[in-house]
Symmetry: C2
Subunit: 123 residues, 2 copies
DNA sequence: TCGTTTCGATTACATCCGTAGTCGTACACC
DNA sequence: GGTGTACGACTACGGATGTAATCGAAACGA
C-alpha cells in the first residue's frame, strides 16, 4: 500500500479543504472558481478520486457529502519536499538551499528569518 | 512554446546524460541498469521522447546516435525547485527551509554550510 | 552473398490525469 | 403527487506516461 500519489489538480482541491472543512463539493468548487476554471463536475471527480486514494473522507449530510481531509498538509508537504530533495539533491537539503540562494530566491526578510531558524537549530 | 515537462522516467535518463555525454542509447541503458530495471527499448523510447521535447539532441555516428543534453541541469533543477516552492510554500523559500528544519533534515555540517551561504548573501 | 544482429522508427497498450457528460434517484416546490 | 432539480455514481475520452514489441534497413560476420 504505497501511499497513492496526489496529482496537481487533486492537490488544488486538497488546499481548499486544508483551509476550511468540512465542505460540500459545491463549496470546494466555489473556493476554486478564482484559481481554476473548472466545472462543478470536474471538482466532484477530483473529490471522488481523492476519496478513493484515501486522502479525504466525507460525512453524509442528507443527500450531500461533507468532505474533510484525511491526509495532513504537513505530511503531504513533507513527502513532496523529501521527494524533490532526494531526486535532485541526493537527499541533502543544503544543496537545495545553495541552489535557491544562487537563484536569488531570498528576500532580505527571508535571510533574516533563515538566520534565526539556523540559530535556533544550533542551540 | 511552454517548456515541455519532463517526466520522472525521462529525468532518470537526463541524469545519466548530465553525468557523461555524448552517449549511445546502449550506454545510457547500461548506466541505468543498476537503478532501474528497464529494457533497452524502454530507454530508447525515453530518449526519443526527450528528443521530441527538445531536451536532448544527437549526433549521428554511423548507424547510431550519440545523445547529449540540451537542457542544462541547472535550469531543470531551478524550474523544479521553483515549482515546488510555488505550489507548497506560496513562492517563499523561507517556509521551505523552516519545514526542512522541523523535519530535522539538516546535519551539523548542513547547518554550518547554510550559515556560510547566508553570510555570503548578506554581504 | 546471405543470414544475423543492431539501429532507430513506428506501433502498442494499460494506467493516470485533466476535464467533463450522463444516469438514476431523492428532495423540494407547486 | 407530479416534476424539475441537485447529488453522487458511473462513463467518457484525449493526451501523457511507463514499459515495451515489432518493423524495415543497414552493417557485420562467415
Amino acid at each position: 500500500m504505497a501511499p497513492e500519489r496526489i496529482s496537481d489538480a487533486e492537490h488544488a482541491v486538497m488546499e481548499v479543504l486544508w483551509q476550511r472543512s468540512p465542505l460540500t463539493a459545491a463549496d470546494v468548487a466555489d473556493a476554486l472558481a478564482d484559481a481554476r476554471d473548472w466545472s462543478l463536475q470536474t471538482v466532484k471527480t477530483l473529490l471522488s478520486r481523492l476519496t478513493n486514494k484515501g486522502a479525504v473522507s466525507y460525512d453524509q449530510d442528507g443527500r450531500r457529502y461533507l468532505y474533510s481531509p484525511i491526509l495532513a498538509r504537513e505530511d503531504y508537504v513533507g513527502d513532496e519536499s523529501r521527494r524533490l530533495v532526494d531526486r535532485l539533491f541526493g537527499g541533502r537539503a543544503a544543496p537545495l538551499i545553495a541552489h535557491l540562494a544562487e537563484q536569488k530566491t531570498f528576500t532580505a526578510e527571508d535571510l533574516a528569518e533563515i538566520e534565526r531558524l539556523i540559530g535556533e537549530l544550533k542551540s
